[in-house]
Each structure stands twice: as structure tokens, then as C-alpha cells.
Amino acid sequence: MSHEYAVELRDIDKVFHTRHFFTRDEDDNRRRIYHKKTVHAVDHVDLAVKPGEVFGLLGRNGAGKTTSVKMMSGLIKPDSGEVFVDGMEVESNRLKILRKVGVVLEGTRTCIWPLTPLENLAYFGNLRDVRGSVLRTRAEGLLEFIGLKDKMNVQVRRLSRGQKQKLAICIALITDPQVILLDEPTTGLDVQSSRSIKDKVTEMARNQGKCAVVTTHDMSVAQELCTRIAIIDAGKVVTCKPTDELLDVFREQRYEFRLDRTPDVAPLKAIPGVNNVEPLNGQEEPGLLVTYPADQELRSAALYSTIQHLSKEGLVLRSVSQLQQTLENVFLQMTSDKKASL
């Protein structure tokens, strides 16, 4: 790919308007003859994805992930701002760009049910301007790789949900696209299949210089698959960092102290630098979960003070451990209603 960014969103804004007639409004529970509602689905988002990257979009339900993906493929027009794919503005080069992107949308009925997977691939391949022997070899290769080869000649309506999802992914890849947009690709897939899809995406990004944008609710998928992650909440980008850095943000903060009994929490909370203290309830051993600030000097001083305090109280310290941060914790902290300030 010749351009610096494979996909770029520049200051994208999207507001949906819906009109309701003769309905009871859920917010204030009043009946209205006519009511116009607006949803700010995507709120001035800037994102850029380089070739070779697997970019994760995380966010709660209704955060605006699908809307962003649809804007990257030109299915939804942004109200303001510009979307670029491979250096071309999407709105004015829509048909050209569709040759470069493969899209898997969430939960839609991608395939035609009375046809078999192979016939589906032939149909959608033709629709996407792939034909002849290229189409045939690619279709069989894809079905082989994804593990649908034995169901190749079974009508789609007889396939299971996960198998349909696999076919949807094959359809998106039939054009051998430069940019792959995957909206919740591993929903409904078994461990092996989601593994093989992760491997395929990683391989395409690493070896073929393609770029993938993946939205998912599965934190382990995101943590394993994505090289960079953006968390969006209510249409705004909360953070956008390489996966390792994102995990680092909170890494050195939480320590678990195992003790012989549970001490009084209040004096510990008073120690300067200690952000939070929680007794470890419901565990076999008594203990404390103490949260420290990310800043190293502050944390060091606070850690010493904590240990001094514990020894002065005459407690036996059995172990101290730093908690491994998972993406799930980071995600929860960033999107919780009392958002962690960064």
C-alpha cells in the first residue's frame, strides 16, 4: 500500500435522527404525537490505522463501533469530517474503495440461505467483480482454511450459526481485500475457529501488509489479536494506544497483601499516596487490595509506608503480589461511569 495510513478517520461526526409518531417516550414516560430523537453515535473521532496493523475498536453496546466501521466502508455517510481508505476519500471514491475493503458486519444475514457455501461465494464473488478460475481457487482455499470444506455443498439454511459466521468471513475475504473490517467476527465461533480466524488475520497483517479493523466484546480476542486498541465510549475516543501500553497504564497500581488477619482499613487509607484500600473478602486467606498511583516515586513511598504501618500493627505479612492487568480490567475502568482520568 502506497499511503501512510490504510484507514483514516478525520474528525468524524455522526448524529442519527429518528422520528417517532404516537409513542410513549422511554425517557420521561410521556405520550407524544410526534417526537424527534437524536443519537450522537460518533462524536468527532480521529483514528488512523497503518498497513500491517490490527486495530481493535472496543466499547460498550451502542458506543458507535458498528457505525464507525460502516463509515469506513461507505455504508453510512458521516455528517462532517472525512474518511480515507488507502489515501482516497471514501465518499467521492466509494466504488473504487469497495474493491479494497472486505467487510463482515455483525448479526446480519450476509449469505443467501437456499444456496450452498460454494454457490454463495460464487454469487458474492461475481457481485464483487471476482470471476473465473481465480474465484474458484480462492473460494475453495477459503472454505478449506476456515473449516467449511465438508459443508461446501450443504444449503446455508441447514448450517449452524457459527458456520454461517464463518461463511460471512469467507465472503468478505473473497476479494482478497487490502483492508479488512471485522465487526464482532468471533461471535458464535468455537475456540478452534476463533483461533484460526485470529491466526489468519494476524498472518495477513504481518506477512501481506494488510490492515484489519476489528470490533469485539471479547477482551481476550482483542488482547491477543490487536496491535493497537481504541476504546470508544458514547461516540468519543477515550483512549487509543498500542495494546501493551494500554495494559501498562494501570499495571503497577494494584497490589495484593496477604496477611494473617484483616486489619482496620481507615488508617491505611490515610497514608499519603494510597489511592484505595479494599479488604479481600471471600478469599481463603485474609488480606488487602491496595491501589497506588502510577507515578513511581509516589508509589514507592506509599508502599514503604504501608508495610511499615502493617508491621507496627503486628501483622504477619505472608506475601505481596502485583496484580496482572488484563484488558478487561482496563476496559472496565475506562468505560465505567466514574471514568478513570488519564
Binding site: 453510512i76 469497495l98 448479526g107 444456496l115 461475481n126
Partner: protein
Amino acid sequence: MGFFLVMKAELVRTFIIMRRYWFSTLMGIFIGYGMLMALIYGFMNSSAEPTDVGEVASEVGTALESRAADNGFAVNATESALGFMLGMFAFGIVGLFTAGLQGMARTGELEQVCLSPHGLVTNFLARSFVASVNSIITWCILLTLISYSVDSQLHLDIVPLVALLFLTYFNLIGFGFMMGGLVLVFKQIGQVAMIIRLAFIGIPLFVSESIYDWDIAANPFLLVVRGILHIVPSADAAICLKMVLVGGSGYSIFAHPSFFWLIVNGFIWTTIGIACFHYLESWSRQKGTLGAY
């Protein structure tokens, strides 16, 4: 060319589905035949009101036996059967753009089609073309069966017929595209579209060459009616097709005013329709109604 590739894909798909669901394909033809025979029966027997189904069946039987006696009836019946078929054809084609498109939007198939680099217009042109060919073939089979049943001779002049069918197709899809665009943006249009589609069954059923014999001097209002008939798609197509197939006018149809109207009408509707569709498609992407219905 994109159009032909999509058309090929669409043809293969239609064929596979027809073969795989051969029973419903056959039933479709049987039901069509039954409906047409009932219609013809209604024409022959508009005075006597039959009371039960058995009676109807036997009366159709006797009426068909005495068919040769009254050739005027046979012409009339075939003509109205033809009109009805054309009406159903229009109903189906416009329906592809209204109910069909609505269904596709609901299931998400529409988004898949929108991801095709050929563009939505090309895709729908190919789709409707294949659907037309499909239904024309079906109606041809039916028409042959019917004309055999009522013993009326059809005039199969291939060149005028193919030309007329092509023009009819453009006549209808232009209108279809316009309705389709509206359906994309405004969900409620679907219900209105149903009424319009029903009107499309009625128009070809009742119009005939006789609109040119209307006594305009006696009733100037008829001029307005005739004007409207020239504007709505499918009226002139029905007149021409009836003249060729039943009246046997052959190549002379190319000199008929209705043929002229059909060309103009088809051209204008297609242009307006596709232009509207382009505009409305872009609007629906703005509103986000391609997928979420």
C-alpha cells in the same frame, strides 16, 4: 462489464433456487393458470352469478366446450388475460423495488449488495432484468396454455414482441427505481407502494386500443384520462402488446402512437427513476437506513 457479471450471478442464483424449490415453481404456474381461468370465466359469465365451487367448475367446463361458437369472446378473454399478466408483471417488477428492497434492508442483504463495487443501480438493473426474464418466460408458458384452453390464436411476431417487452421493462423499472429510492429513505412508503402496485394490475387489464376512439368532443374530461394513461407506466405497453399478440398488427405497431408514447415514457421514467434513486440512495446512507430498518 459489471452489469453482465451481476446478471450472470443473478441468473445462476434464480435458476438454482427454482430448481431446488421446484414444487413452489410448479405451484406458481398452476396458481397463475387457475387465477387466469377464473378471470376468463368471470368475463364470459358476468350475468350469471354462480353460487358454489362445483357449479363454477362445471360451468367453466361447458363454457369451454362451447368456446368455438363465440370467437369474439375468445379474443376478449385472451386480451384480458394478457392484460392481467402484464399487470402481474408490473406488480412483480415494482414489488422487487418496494417489498423486495424492504425485505433486503431488513435482513441485511441490501448492505451486502451495497458493498458491491458495481454500484446499487447496476445491481438492481441486473436483478430486475433477470426477474423480468424469469416472469416473462413463466407468463409465456401460461399464455400458451390459456390460449390453447380458450382456443384463441396468438400472433407471435418475435421482433415486435421482443422490442415491446424491452420497452415495457424500461417503462416499469424507471418507476420501480423511483419507488425503491423512496422506500430506502422513508420506511412508511412501503404501504403506499402496495396500493400503487395494485393499481398496476388494474390499468393493463382495462386499457385497450379503444382509448383512441373515445369521443373527446363529447367529454373533454376523457382527454385528461387519456393523458394520465400516457403518463403512467404500463398503459401504453398493454395497448401495444394486446395489439400485437391478439390483434395481430405485427410490424405496423412501430407506427402506432402508443408505441411512440411507450418509447418516450420509458425513456423519461428510466431517466427520472435512476436519477431519483441515486439521490435517494445517497440520502439513505446519510440517514443510515440501508441496514437498520
